[in-house]
């Protein structure tokens, strides 16, 4: 299957600050990709690079086999929803749809009308007076009705209440099922990502820490707990992602291709949340190890 995003050594610098460094990815088509990481990790930068809103400082990025933002053909294939679902406050709902129809060669007017009916939005209402949930749904309608092959969504549900959030994700999943569109969405809400994503990218401190199909990632990571022990004594092939120690016990989250055979460990599976938190706090690993040595 072809890749929707293929990047090689991708980097972006704002003045002296690197927002993204050495980002090498190959995201397969037909996936719903969750992009997670702390604020300022580079999620928005990566999505902006993929949409063509930003140009890379180093490396290359191809989206659906083309250069992001290279001409109308490429723009028509990618739908991009920026953070906080920006709309034109002074324009009405129906103005937005007219604009969508004029600006997008592949505009699906029937789909847009269908969604408007389903959402029960008053076409004459100014977009500036809509609720956060309605604004997000209007923006999603514009992004979906242009019939893109790839949807890039930057924290689309961050500012929504739980009901609006659920409705937004329901509509998004319906679009995925009906139109076979690939999706990359960034979010802090792991419980949402657990439901909708089948591919995960964890971005911390401007670097990709881990990326892959969710199922493979969950199968290759294990939580080990047992008597206190130095993680350096683990067999080769078991990579420690996070570690914590008490005076008698050690708990590790490890990545390994094979099974964990050491009977000293109690082995359990990990959830997506365990995984994301472990990679996000990976910076603390060195600290934990020093702490262990100090106590000896």
């Amino acid at each position: 299957m072809t890749a929707v995003i293929e990047s090689e050594g991708l980097g972006k610098r704002y003045r002296r600050l690197w927002a993204l460094t050495e980002c090498t990815l190959s995201v397969p088509a037909g996936r719903v990709v969750g992009l997670v990481g702390p604020n300022g990790a580079g999620k928005t930068t990566l999505l902006s690079l993929a949409s063509g809103m930003l140009a890379p400082t180093t490396g290359t990025i191809e989206v659906l086999g083309g250069r992001p933002g290279a001409g109308p053909g490429q723009l028509a294939r990618v739908g991009y929803l920026a953070q906080n679902a920006p709309v034109y406050a002074e324009l009405s709902v129906s103005d937005h749809l007219k604009l969508g129809a004029r600006l997008n060669p592949g505009w699906d007017a029937a789909l847009a009308a269908d969604r408007m009916k389903h959402l029960d939005l008053d076409p004459g209402r100014k977009a500036g007076t809509l609720s956060g949930g309605q604004r997000a749904q209007l923006a999603l309608t514009l992004a979906v009705a242009k019939r893109p092959e790839l949807l890039l969504l930057d924290e689309p549900v961050a500012s929504l209440d739980p009901l609006a959030r659920r409705e937004f994700l329901q509509d998004l999943m319906e679009a995925v099922a009906e139109q076979q569109v690939s999706v990359v969405l960034s979010s802090h809400l792991i419980s949402d990502l657990e439901r909708v994503c089948d591919y995960l990218i964890v971005l911390v401190g401007s670097r990709v820490r881990v990326a892959g199909p969710v199922e493979e990632l969950l199968a290759s990571h294990h939580l080990l707990s047992g008597p206190r022990r130095d993680p350096a004594t683990l067999p080769a092939g078991q990579q420690v992602i996070s570690a914590s120690h008490t005076d008698v016990q050690t708990t590790l989250l490890v990545r390994t291709a094979g099974p964990v055979l050491d009977p000293a460990w109690t082995v359990s599976g990990v959830t997506m949340e365990d995984l994301v938190l472990a990679y996000m706090s990976q910076a603390g690993l060195g600290r934990g190890r020093r702490h262990l040595e100090a106590q000896r």
């Binding site: 719903v32 994700l169 329901q170 999943m173 319906e174 995925v176 099922a177 439901r195």
Partner: protein
Amino acid sequence: MIEFHLDGRSGVAPYLQLIHQVRQALRLGLLAEGDQLPKVKDVAAGLAINPNTVLKAYRELEYEGLAAARPGVGTFVTGTLAGASLAAHGPLRHDLQRWLAKARRAGLDDESIEALFVSTFRAAGEEGAA
């Protein structure tokens, strides 16, 4: 038509929860041969889950011989798990309800009832195996 639900805190993979609910419905006679399973699009939209998760569950059911996909139409039940024992469900359920009422009168809470049932169930299983 059955309706799926998901328990986000159970720790059980969503596709396994869907399979379990179909099997459960087959056992209880809520689904019979020839019945259509909910459309992938409707399940994805209803539960806000990835359509691939639903497809995976349905493929697994096909592999088990319990369902078959008709392209362009949907997925249909082709097997059964209830069998001839379905007729016995009514009276057994009635007995169980009486037993439950008795347990509550004796002051057992939900957790105690479940624990008692599971431990008795296991013990009976072990006796049967021995």
